[in-house]
């Protein structure tokens, strides 16, 4: 279960990105909404949703929405989740958002993240407004009926409470050390 609840403040972090930069959550204090997404390379659920995340970032970048992806998996047991492989994945898939490495897993533990992917959406004040999965169909983007993250982003941008503030994250478990 996540350590932060709807209405709680975001937990700051400082993590390296695949582009060689260090990223602070506070770098995005000027955004209307920030989605912190725990994900990884190897998990088929994460991979099934990554094109949709790229599309969400593209669709909402102009409205002040920022996605941040974080990989916290133990790469010693899951080599596909190494920092080098993360760089390759980001390049291959054309990630248009930072892809950060939480090597010591402190950020995932602080958030209480359990799955990949798992979304924490914060509003302009850094308050958690949505937590859970991306949408209701990992298999087929054309068959999505509940676009939870998109709907929550729209709600946050309009200053409303998301109709669905929490869903169960669907995906692989985070691979702890």
């Amino acid at each position: 279960m996540a350590n932060i609840r709807i209405g709680d403040n975001a937990i700051p972090f400082n993590l390296p990105g695949v582009d060689g930069r260090k990223y602070l959550l506070s770098d995005y204090d000027d955004r209307e909404a920030v989605a912190v997404i725990f994900t990884c390379n190897h998990c088929p659920y994460a991979r099934a949703w990554e094109d949709r995340l790229v599309q969400i970032q593209a669709d909402y970048a102009g409205r002040g929405v920022q996605l941040i992806a974080i990989n916290s998996n133990d790469a010693s047991k899951y080599p596909d989740d190494s920092f080098e492989k993360m760089k390759e994945r980001a390049e291959e898939k054309g990630f248009n958002f930072p892809y950060l490495h939480d090597e010591d897993q402190e950020v995932a533990r602080a958030y209480g993240a359990e799955r990949t992917p798992e979304v924490f959406l914060f509003d302009a004040d850094g308050i958690l407004r949505y937590h859970g999965t991306v949408d209701d169909n990992y298999e087929d983007p054309e068959a999505v009926r509940e676009a939870y993250l998109r709907d929550a982003i729209e709600a946050v941008l309009e200053g409303r409470e998301p109709a669905t503030a929490e869903t169960a994250p669907v995906g692989c478990t985070i691979k702890w050390k």
């Binding site: 190897h42 998990c43 088929p44 659920y45 991979r47 099934a48 047991k77 899951y78 990992y138 298999e139 669907v170 995906g171 692989c172 478990t173 691979k175």
Partner: protein, 101 residues
């Protein structure tokens, strides 16, 4: 025909995958005994040559043979669908092809 269905509890798709397997078996009208095995430890994964959940074998042969050297692990398995998308579930078509071999 003997069908083995191996899964790892932490991967949420196994119930759906088993349902899909049983439906395709029924649609194909084949006589098949499905043996379901939960893989719980890394040691068991190695022993059963389990490369991820779910793994389905028809008469001992993986319906989508994994690449050589794929590590045995308690993890979710990625299947590449006919249209190139990645899914945690094998497609109905890949199950059907394996049953018709």
């Amino acid at each position: 025909m003997k069908v083995d269905f191996l899964y790892y509890e932490d991967c949420p798709s196994h119930g759906r995958a088993l349902e899909r397997l049983r439906r395709v078996i029924s649609e194909e009208g084949v006589e098949a005994e499905v043996e379901v095995t939960e893989v719980k430890t890394e040691e068991q994964a190695a022993e059963l040559r389990f490369v991820g959940s779910p793994t389905i074998r028809v008469d001992g042969e993986d319906i989508v043979p994994p690449p050589d050297g794929a590590p045995y692990a308690l993890t979710c398995r990625a299947y590449t669908l006919e249209d190139g998308r990645v899914s945690p579930l094998p497609s109905e078509e890949s199950i059907r092809r394996a049953l018709r071999r």
